[in-house]
């Protein structure tokens, strides 16, 4: 079947399960879903013809009709293996095949003023409040994936931290997909009020078969508030993954994003933030591609107000036949004087068949700003290899050390000890080179 034929079947599938999707009694949401579905029907998933998708061909996703999962179809889960991803000393929300599992989640001890709950329940309890957030950070018209997600989402997480509240532990959202051909579409709202602080970790895991996982998160960071988001994408090796994180930062707000993209066959991240006056954002990313993985990270930083600071560093390690794509776009509006922005993307290619496509873009309309960007694509530095050899280290070990050190710079930034260790462990397990040791660091 052609892509058009597959895509044209989704509305019929939608009609079958529509009544089971959350928020049926919420009229604004019903309208949103219908509009989004109509947008998807006419646009489909993004094509290579779209500038933002030039390097990422998603047509493989259109060769298959993924099944929405309704409650009684949720797959069985090996809880033991789930526990290896569950972080101690964190509040946990587990979404299985796109649905909240109360049994697997743990929100005990959450301060009563803080709300962390599944989106289906949130839509029942706070429909009017949620309307103020939905599509405020991203329109369903952004592109096919966002529209698809808006139409189909089965659940998600709503996090609200009231002003001055400082969360004592991170909130971890674990997404699991259990079966072949399933699709998991989740929608999240994270809103951190004035002077509040929180850390949220998103972990994505799944079975070894092909499935589709999409997650759209709208984030609102209030004045002087501070949010750090960690994303650990460890999808199964045949998985298709799309995640969009769209952020609005008020004056003096701080937002940090740490994005680790290790899994999936085809994975795409969109990260966008709109910076308020004197706000700060830091976007960090590490992608490791092996075999035939295709990992695409698109970031966009909008400096809309004066005095804001943005820092961005994405690093990629690409081996075998993997392909990494990075697009970093920084837009400085005319009014955003005294902007300070720095963006870097560094890629290490470990095989002749690996590929990196990188596209930094600065668009500056203000005249009193400090902006810099840099990009590198290359192999290991021969001078460094020789230096290590001259210190008794054999060449193969020297290469491994340098490769691992290159990637580890991003892991090193993680200050939550058990999360840091988990990421390091995943990185070590996924490196195709043998003999890499943690003690090097």
């Amino acid at each position: 079947m052609s892509a058009e034929q597959i895509n044209s079947q989704y509305p019929a599938e939608y009609a079958k399960v529509e009544a089971l999707l959350p928020g049926q009694s919420v009229s604004w949401l019903k309208t949103l879903r219908e509009q989004a579905l109509a947008f998807f029907s006419s646009h489909g998933f993004p094509s290579l013809r779209e500038e933002e998708w030039r390097y990422t061909n998603v047509s493989a996703i259109e060769k298959k009709l993924f099944s929405p999962v309704v409650h009684d179809e949720i797959g069985a889960l090996d809880v033991g293996s789930l526990d290896t991803y569950r972080l101690e000393n964190a509040w946990t929300i587990v979404l299985v095949d796109g649905h909240f599992s109360a049994a697997l989640s743990d929100l005990e001890g959450l301060p009563s003023s803080v709300r962390v709950l599944d989106m289906a329940s949130a839509l029942e309890q706070y429909p009017d409040e949620l309307q103020k957030y939905f599509t405020q950070a991203v329109s369903y018209k952004q592109h096919g994936f966002v529209a698809f997600n808006a139409a189909w989402f089965t659940d998600g997480v709503f996090i609200h931290v009231p002003s001055k509240e400082v969360l004592s532990k991170p909130v971890q959202i674990i997404h699991v997909v259990t079966q072949a051909d399933y699709m998991s579409n989740t929608r999240h709202i994270i809103t951190i009020d004035k002077m509040a602080q929180a850390e949220v970790i998103e972990t994505f895991i799944g079975c070894d078969d092909a499935y589709l996982s999409t997650a759209v998160t709208e984030v609102f960071v209030g004045e002087n508030a501070d949010l750090t988001l960690y994303k650990l994408q460890l999808e199964g090796e045949k998985a298709y993954h799309f995640a969009g994180t769209y952020v609005k930062q008020e004056a003096n707000a701080r937002f940090k994003h740490h994005n680790f993209a290790f899994g999936g066959l085809l994975a795409r991240n969109d990260i966008r933030t709109d910076l308020g006056r004197a706000s700060e954002c830091e976007l960090n990313g590490l992608y490791l591609g092996i075999k035939r993985q295709h990992i695409d990270n698109h970031t966009r930083i909008n400096h809309l107000q004066p005095h804001a600071i943005s820092r961005e560093l994405y690093k990629g390690v690409l081996d075998q036949r993997a392909r990494g794509v990075f697009q970093g776009r920084v837009v400085v509006a005319e009014y955003a004087q005294k902007t300070s922005s720095e963006m870097n993307n560094r890629n290490l290619l470990l095989s002749n068949d690996a590929e990196a496509d990188t596209k930094p873009q600065l668009e500056i309309y203000a005249d009193d700003v400090k902006c810099a960007h840099g990009v590198t694509v290359g192999q290991l530095d021969e001078k460094s290899i020789f230096y290590l050899q001259s210190r008794c280290v054999d060449e193969a070990t020297a290469r491994n050390m340098l490769t691992f050190a290159f990637a580890n710079e991003m892991v090193f930034k993680i200050k939550i000890k058990n999360l840091h260790d988990q990421i390091l462990e995943q990185l070590l397990a996924r490196f195709p080179q043998e003999g890499i040791q943690q003690e090097w660091l």
Partner: protein, 249 residues
């Protein structure tokens, strides 16, 4: 210790070293001086095994073995140490880890057991004091963000821990202010021993004020054109390299 016979080295088609002969006995300190482009650094690179150089003629024997036949790491484990003119920054690998990895690789090569963690720390801290370094440097990435002087101290720290038989110091004085130079020179002098030899490569006589060589060689256009005692260095300083080149010509 080290015997270089009629060594010819090219980079691509261009001959750089044109027949070097040099005998360094155990415990001796040799200085090689020469103008820019004379081949000084090439000599240090060839001895330590850097790629990109072709030996077209001649031999180098180290402790009775063919040095040129060994991989760079084997030379290092056999006791050849090159203190780099420009030490390389290695972000992400900690200084102390590299010290330990290097020492253990050397010990295993020599048939010794790996060093005990506690003994290692004691040893490292001693040497750090000797070089008047801050212990914090141990836990930073190798040379990353170090000043010129700190990098050179770090090189000598590595030598002090590895206790090599043959130290090659490539322009160790470059980029050092007088205080740093004194500390580095004191570190090097403390390493002098009857079973350890030094080959100091330097453009200026300055370093030799602090580390007294036994023998001074002058390298010009890929050949050793003059050999003498420490007084040769002073004479060179006074008359300049053109003096030697005139004598040769």
């Amino acid at each position: 210790m080290l015997s270089i016979k009629n060594l010819h080295v090219s980079v691509g088609d261009k001959p750089i070293l044109k027949g070097i002969n040099l005998e360094i006995n155990a415990g001796e300190v040799h200085a090689i001086m020469g103008p820019n482009g004379s081949g000084k650094s090439t000599l240090s690179h060839v001895l330590s095994g850097k790629s990109g150089y072709t030996v077209t003629e001649g031999t180098v024997t180290y402790k009775g073995k063919d040095l040129l036949d060994m991989a760079p790491e084997i030379r290092a484990r056999e006791g050849i140490f090159l203190a780099f003119q420009y030490p390389v920054e290695i972000p992400g690998v900690s200084n102390i880890y590299l010290l330990k990895a290097a020492l253990n690789a050397m010990r295993i090569h020599q048939g010794l057991p790996e060093v005990d963690a506690f003994d290692f720390l004691t040893l490292v801290k001693d040497k750090v004091k000797l070089l008047e370094m801050d212990e914090k440097f141990l836990y930073r990435s190798v040379n990353e963000g170090f000043s010129g002087g700190e990098k050179k101290r770090n090189e000598i720290l590595q030598a002090a821990i590895l206790e090599p038989s043959m130290c090659i110091l490539d322009e160790t004085d470059s980029g050092l202010d007088i205080d740093a130079l004194q500390v580095v020179a004191a570190g090097i002098n403390s390493l002098r021993a009857a079973d350890r030899s030094f080959l100091m490569i330097t453009h200026y006589q300055r370093l030799l004020d602090y580390i007294k060589p036994d023998i001074v060689h002058v390298l010009a256009d890929g050949r050793i054109v003059k050999t003498g005692g420490p007084e040769l260095a002073l004479e060179l300083e006074e008359k300049g390299y053109s003096w030697v080149q005139e004598q040769v010509a």
